[in-house]
Symmetry: C2
Subunit: 365 residues, 2 copies
């Protein structure tokens, strides 16, 4: 059934999305690495299925509740790239592991002990990957402590140690870089070197999993990397275009908005603010230094300068003829957290629209 | 039924919330102004009902779909403080106006003409308030053009002109101020003066509606102001505490999180990032200059320094004994956009928890 999405709404161009999905599948095939896309970007089982049908070996998620949603929709190979530490979550992870092929992240002995004890208690095995901090300064065991921790946890009862993973991000803490190719290679090399040292210590390391959308392509060129986990590539966004990872035309998801007011010659107001557009990738921050909160397709020179909750304040030129009622399309700075604001997206294919629920939205637990 | 909220989750202390609701009801009563709370903060009909039962004359919302949700839950006096401009939305507004007592915002002749024509077509009357820009530079007719526009729209068929409203915000564009009392008085005076000038031009102005949580108290002292529309006060937040509008103890809503990793002596990671905490009120921005993305109740000295989507990176001291599995409570910088990230909140009363759906969440259209 064709429908007319009201504004503001996220509109996904299916053809562009499929092209992005195919491009990374081809890249992974060429480099002979597994592709395990991060579903945090779309949070939609149907799109995860499309990725699986196009070469992906499984799906990555950040949270257990996201994994449960994916499993409920028939996705049966999942990696939760996040430490599972509380009793409640450990129990849920064990249960989930009994119905799908599940791997979970671990980054501390304490976390590992909890998982191991629960696995033993349930008479089952938990598949784990050790998270490595390769410079982002987030979760992950410190790089220099990783060999020791791997040796310690590999022997825990109820554990199957599958390998190591990292998320380095493209912005290294304190040293932001636009040299994405080099950053990806470094990420791959750090992880391959570490895997070798863990192997030399007597621990089998099957998986060496790396890479985000910007770094996956170059990280995959490093011999010894076995898997990449890009997320954003499915839709791409303005941040990725600024990084040189894609063109603006490769952005499959835009936010359709309406001009609700043009109170002054140099200003118009659109019907989306910080409850419509993510505010976690900000204008004016190095190294991207983006102007505004999104790129307006119909007005590339305009600047989406400020957001309040439901208003977007756009600086335009007095010569612009936009007026209340006009429809515009905005490529957001960061698509992942933008999708997360919307209960549904509208998938556009050959001129017709279909509403798709963002089932994983708000699944933070 | 008592339940144990998993983390991350928004927990609302009912006693504190009721105290906040009562405080503003009392303030409005004292100043003899109507209280029409903005429901964008909580987006929960049950809480709007509580406000109505405690002195509020009706409810304010930002979007039509929010209004529809409130109406579906029995709230029958609504003001949409937003321009309604597209045909679809005008039709929806007319329909909604036939089942509840509805006022809508208008800020341009063009918008007014669309509403008027639709009202005539449906043989009904639309109640409108004219939005005034008193310095925020968002929607609202320019202050100096307001008398002329009021005179023009008051005569439109199918229109009932009810008065004027503004949202000035506490941060005046280009001139951020922490002098909230003075800002509120100015806001009130600007609007009362304007109302007088519109009346002198022959247009009856019943409503002079002003005020946000920080400015409502002082704006209400201005003779001639008839209504205040605070939103945040129901929960309060770290931004309001920084403005001196409340104490941290008045913050009714916290986000309960779990420490998932303590990879380094000076760093711990909590299980909430930019999909759990709003990022629209940022650290280090004048005049508030907040440190970090929230106040940690159990660690007031700690700084929630960075957020990625599902990780909060907290700078702590090497002497802190926090470890993976610990539970903490965070008062977010901005509660309105934080609530908007969550599908449900947990209402705590005398030690028991109840899950309440955020029915208006994602209602951006």
């Amino acid at each position: 059934m064709n429908i007319h999405p009201d504004t503001p709404s996220v509109i996904v161009d299916t053809a562009v999305m499929k092209r992005n999905i195919a491009a990374f599948a081809k890249l992974a095939e060429l480099r002979k690495v597994a592709l395990r896309p991060h579903a945090k970007t779309h949070k939609i089982p149907e799109i995860a299925q499309l990725q699986l049908a196009t070469g992906a070996v499984g799906v990555t998620v950040a949270k257990l509740s996201e994994a449960e949603v994916m499993a409920d929709h028939g996705i049966d190979d999942l990696f939760i790239a996040y430490p599972i530490v509380t009793d409640t979550k450990v129990e849920r992870a064990i249960k989930l592991g009994q119905r799908v092929n599940l791997m979970v992240g671990v980054d501390s002995l304490q976390g590992a002990l909890g998982l191991s004890a629960a696995a033993v208690r349930h008479g089952t095995t938990v598949k784990v990957r050790l998270e490595i901090d390769t410079g982002l300064g987030r979760t992950g065991v410190l790089y220099d402590e990783a060999v020791a921790l791997a040796c310690r946890i590999v022997s825990l009862p109820g554990f199957k140690f599958c390998g190591i993973y990292t998320f380095r991000g493209n912005f290294m803490q304190g040293k932001p870089t636009l040299d994405i190719l080099r950053a990806g290679v470094e990420e791959g090399e750090l992880m391959v070197d570490l895997a070798e040292r863990i192997r030399n210590a007597g621990v089998a390391v099957r998986d060496v999993s790396v890479g985000s959308t910007p770094t996956a392509a170059s990280a995959a060129t490093v011999e010894g990397v076995t898997e990449i986990r890009p997320g954003t590539y499915v839709f791409q966004d303005r941040m990725q275009a600024a990084l040189g990872v894609c063109r603006l035309e490769d952005c499959a998801a835009t936010v359709r908005v309406t001009v609700v007011s043009r109170p002054a010659p140099d200003r118009m107001i659109i019907d989306g603010g910080s409850k419509t557009f993510a505010t976690d990738v900000l204008p004016g921050v190095q190294p991207l230094n983006l102007q505004g909160f999104g790129h307006l397709r119909e007005a590339p020179h305009a600047i989406l300068e400020r957001l309040s909750e439901e208003h977007g304040i756009v600086r335009i030129s007095a010569f612009d003829r936009f007026e209340a009622g006009d429809t515009l399309h905005v490529i957001p700075n960061h698509i992942c957290s933008t999708i997360n604001l919307h209960n549904r997206i509208y998938v556009q294919e050959r001129g017709t629209y279909r509403s798709v629920t963002v089932s994983g939205r708000g699944m933070v637990t």
